[in-house]
Structure formats: C-alpha cells, structure tokens
Symmetry: C2
Subunit: 345 residues, 2 copies
DNA sequence: TTGTATGCGTTATCAC
DNA sequence: GTGATAACGCATACAA
C-alpha cells in the first residue's frame, strides 16, 4: 500500500503495468471478465494493483465503450414517507443489477431546466420520480439516445422515447370517493398539493367527478406543496366550521397532516366525526398511531416495473405499464353504512 | 433538433464543430466560462449545439482535467425518517454547490467491501452516512487521494485522511438518562439496534453508565436492525410484565415503535405509566400523533458541517467537527419531579 | 499469450 | 481569435 500523497491523482493502469512489468493492455485484460492473460502474469498484475490501490477508471471505460451503467434519478422531497421508501427500494435494486445511481434533487436547482445536467455524465437512462419532465430534457434525451422513465408523470406530448409507469390514479380517486360515500359523508373535501402537473391532480379530479356523480358536494383545497404542513393548513381552514365530514388527501403525508390536526388540535373524533382517506400507503400510514385508510400503489410492483423499464434495451420501443391500485381499509374512515358498491372501473 | 435515432451515441463536440464550420477547440472554448471566442462564432456554435442537442461530456472533462465534481454518498435505510431528511438536505445542498451525488445504497450490495466501486467513478469525496467504513475503502481512498467524510461513524484506526462529523452521542445518552431519572423512573431499558459499530452504541453506553451512576437498573435490548419493527419487538418483550417504567430508543424510529406499541397494543399510558425518549429528532417525532421527547442532533448543523468537509481542498489535513446535542421536551416523558440536574458534561 | 497502435470526447498548449 | 495537436485512462483490433 502506498502512503497517501497530497494532490495525488488516481493510480492508473500504467502505474500498475510499470510495477508488474507488463503493458497497459495486459492490465486491462486482467480486469476484463473474458480477458486472455496467463495465470502467472494475471497474478502479478493483481498483486501490483492491490499494492497500489488500483481501481479501473470506469469513466474512461464508458468513454471508450460508449456504454454507460449510470442511471440518473431525479426527484425531490426525499423526506416524504412514501418517496423515501420508493427511493430506498429503487436505489438498492439498481446496485443489485450493477447499475449506478446518479441522483439529482431538484430542490437544489434554481430552474427545472437545470436537470439536463444529468446528461453531461452520459447516463443511459433518466428516471423521473417527481416533477414534470421539462421539454428540454425530453428533447435532449431523444437527441442523445438516452432513455427516460417517467413514474406517475403525465404522458409526454409526442410519442417520445419514454417509458411510462403509471399507478391508476383515476381509479384510486374513485375508490376514495366511493369509500367516503359509503361511510355516509354528506359534504367532503379534497386536499391537492399545488404542483401544476402530476398524478395528484388526476386523483383529485377523479375523486371530484365521482362525488359529483353521487350528488355529494366537494370542496377543493389547493394551496401549498405536497407536505405534512399542507395537511395541517387545510384541516384548520376546512374544519373551522361544521359541515365537512370527509377529507381525501391526495398523498398520505397530506392526509396525515389532516388527520393529526383534526384529532389533536381540533379535538375531532376520527372517524367518528370526520373520515380521512389518503393515497400511497406509505409505511407510517400503517403505524398504530395513524391507521390511515388509504389507496395503495404497491411499492414492490412499482419498483419492479421501474427496473424492467430501466433494463430495457436502448432501442426498445416506448412502453407503458400500469400499476393497479387498491383500497386499504384501516380505521380513519367510518364503517360502511351499506354494502359498498363495486367500483365502476 | 435531430430526430431520435436508434442506438445513437451522444452527440459530441466534433458533431457541433462540423455543423458550425469550426474546429473542436472552438466548440470547447464556447462552452468554457473564460473561453476566447468571437461573439459571432460563439453564437453559431451555440446555435449548432442547441440544434443537435449537444451537451459537454463531463466524463471526458474529468478524465482530462483529473478533477471531479462527483461526490459518492453511501448509506442505507433511506426510508428511516431521520436519514431521509438528512439525505434530502444533503443532496439538495450538493447540487446547490454544483456537485453531483453518486449514491450507493449498501442494502443492494452483497458485501460491504463492494462499496469501493464508488472509486471507479473517480469521486473526489466519499461520504459515509451509515455503516462502518471498511478498511479496504479507507485504504483505497488514501491511495488515490480521495477524501472521506464520516458522519457519526467511529474514528478510523489510524489518522487516516478522513473528516469526522460527530454528534455528541455520549452527551445525548447522558441527557436521555438524566431526563428519565428526573421523571422518576425506577427501572429503565435501552433499545439498541444490532449494528456492530456506530454512534448508536455510544448513545446506549453513555445512557447505561449514567443510569448506573444514579443507581437505576437498566435492561438492555439488542436485537434487530434500526427499524420501527425493532421498537415493536422490544416493547412487547420488555413490557410483558410490570417493572420497566422508562425506555430509551437509540433512534427516533425505534422509540416510535416502542411508543406506539405501548400505547395502542399494550394499552399503557405514555407518559403516565411509561416514559419513552428517542434520539435524532426526526420530523415525524414532532407530529401531534407522537410528540416524542428526544435528543436532537440538529439537521442544519449536521448538513453544514458535512458540506464544509466536502468542500475542503483535497490536501487539507483531516478535520473533526462536533455537533452539539440538545434535549427536546415534548410529551412522551413524565414531567420532571425535581428541578432537573444540570448535565454533567 | 503478449505488446503496439488507435480512438473515445474533452481541454490545454502552441502555433498562426 | 482560431485551428492543429497532445494527453487523460481505458479497451480493442491487430501484429508479433
């Protein structure tokens, strides 16, 4: 092992070759799975590499082979209970397949157009966990032959080279509406995060439509981001006076803000006086402190579909996979008064 | 904009040069902050680049300049409420400083030695959020002149080239002990995650020592990982019979598992019959559904120290920064019976 | 089996 | 201001 040196550059195959008394190609071959090297030299090379602390420079390899194992993952709000679980599963799975995760947290960017920076690192695929796909990014990916995977994002304008992973937001919204209706709610509200374009709006829209079809009035709250605080704010405003007896939070985090504020700040009995339903089925929603009834988008299914999309060959046609959604009964919604209608999907 | 082509490689500066009728060097200069290009040609180049969807290949730039803006971040358990918040803040801050985050989730690796793979991408710095630093990684970083930043990790054996960020775990453990003692607890327990080596053990150790010094017996529970489920298991076992009236979870997630199990499964009044205290001050600990009394390691302070370490020049001497810790009073611990002793630190 | 030569996309140096 | 050229570290086709 060499002593640490100041400003030292990374040790290269040339260094190893020198020490082992071979050529650089020999070193390269020794580190290439199918490389032809005689056992003795191979051993010498490996020993030298170990001694020097050599690691193959994959940047150079990518450059040469024009084939990258870097996957760009862009997201925001990684502290969100569902997103963090989703990201944890995805990143673990990426490494299991020997892919590297180059992460971009859009919260750190001034403009959303900044995220094309991922392409500067020759990622083979860009995965979008949240936020809308900027046109610019889509164009650049197309021009450079990089694939895109959009998770719960609206479909891109053209038939762009993007794989779509979509939980059935509309069905989820209807499920939520049906459940609150079955609980006997007479006047409900939906709390949407203010993000301009996303699956969350579809959830809310479907909820409203279904409620309208059932003749139940619905109030819409649409201020603030996808956060716990938004749930708090919404609950305070919506529950100031009597009237509303059911609330759908388009996200578990929002719904939990509503739930906790109703229970502990406003002193409302949930589900006695108010029913609350969420969307996601984040791990903490099942905690006994919450027991939030919610619409589940299965995390394993979502992760599986994402990995399939990522591993699709570069020239595969765009694909779309739908993740089914299901109602998870817990105890934040009043028991159904009548036998629940079959969902109309 | 070119049409998307199958198997297309990324567009290069040569492509742009060809279209703009200039040399590759001109293109390079047009994209270099201080580059000398006449306004007209510059405009032509930029137009050509935009048309083709060109982006500078930073892999090649790193290769040539021997200076990387890649920061390797290794961690696990990103669904943990504190870790996810920490990671969210860190990744956002990285991008704000124009650094890229190459993430490694050790949950996806067979062996911990696998994480040296980060060095294959010529990261300038490796940040360790969890897990121990394998010797191999430390050696390779040293040999290649890459810096390491260890967050709440035990100090490396030698005076290796690693920056240390350490919350005062010992003081935190003592604080927790003091608070439970003040609550009048007579027999307490500590729930440690089974990880072999980490700050969590120091927290538990200091807690035990302080309790012993006060003559209060402490039971130690040490099975399972750092998870909510571990808190559940511990609570079920520890609270099966009467006796224990105070529990310290070395992590908020663990403590919340204890708290919820005690309250909702075992029907214990918290803090009436049992006091529970955690460590971290994760965002959800402040939720009204929990109101967990805990030891805070300030996230902003932690992030600030981490960024300072990351931005230190490559040849700076190893540094150590200590993050103070403080007791956050909420309502999972019985009120202090006597005026609380000043902590002995 | 092994070494030589070439090219990947960039930037820096050097002429012009 | 501009273009040719070398070099970064690697993998490969080819020659030995």
């Amino acid at each position: 092992m060499t002593a640490p040196e100041k400003g030292a550059r990374f040790v290269s195959s040339a260094d190893v070759a020198r020490l082992a008394g071979v050529s650089r190609s020999a070193v390269s071959r020794a580190f290439t799975p199918g490389g032809c090297v005689s056992p003795p030299t191979r051993a010498r090379i490996l020993a030298a590499a170990e001694k020097l602390g050599y690691r193959v420079n994959r940047l150079a390899r990518i450059l040469h082979q024009d084939r990258s194992d870097l996957v760009g993952v862009v997201g925001a709000n990684f502290a969100n209970p569902y997103i963090s679980a989703q990201f944890d599963a995805l990143s673990a799975e990426l490494h299991r397949r020997n892919l590297q995760c180059l992460l971009l947290n859009t919260a750190g960017m001034a403009e959303s157009s900044e995220l094309v920076r991922l392409l500067d690192y020759r990622v083979r695929t860009v995965v979008l966990l949240s936020g809308a796909a900027p046109d610019r990014l889509m164009r650049l990916c197309a021009a450079n032959g990089a694939r895109m995977v959009l998770i719960n994002r609206p479909a891109p304008p053209k038939g762009a080279l993007a794989d779509l992973i979509l939980a059935d937001s509309a069905a989820g919204g209807r499920l939520a509406a049906g459940r609150l209706a079955a609980a006997g709610c007479r006047h409900v509200a939906v709390v949407v995060s203010g993000s301009r374009t996303s699956a969350k709006r579809v959830r809310a829209r479907a909820f409203c439509d279904e409620m309208t079809a059932r003749g139940i009035p619905v109030t819409r709250w649409e201020k603030g981001p996808n956060s716990y605080q938004t749930g708090i704010d919404a609950a305070r405003a919506l529950l100031a006076g009597p009237g509303i007896d059911g609330i759908f939070g388009v996200t578990d985090e929002i719904a939990l803000g509503v739930l906790n504020t109703a229970r502990f700040e406003l002193g409302l009995a949930v589900p006695g006086e108010l029913s609350v339903i969420g969307f996601d089925d984040a791990p903490i929603s099942d905690w006994s402190s919450h027991r939030l009834t919610t619409i589940r988008q299965s995390l394993p299914a979502l992760t599986r579909a994402t990995m399939e999309a990522i591993e699709r060959p570069a020239d595969a046609p765009p694909n779309r996979s739908d993740i089914p959604v299901e109602l998870v009964e817990r105890s934040s919604v009043a028991p159904a008064r009548y036998k629940r209608r079959t969902d109309r999907t």
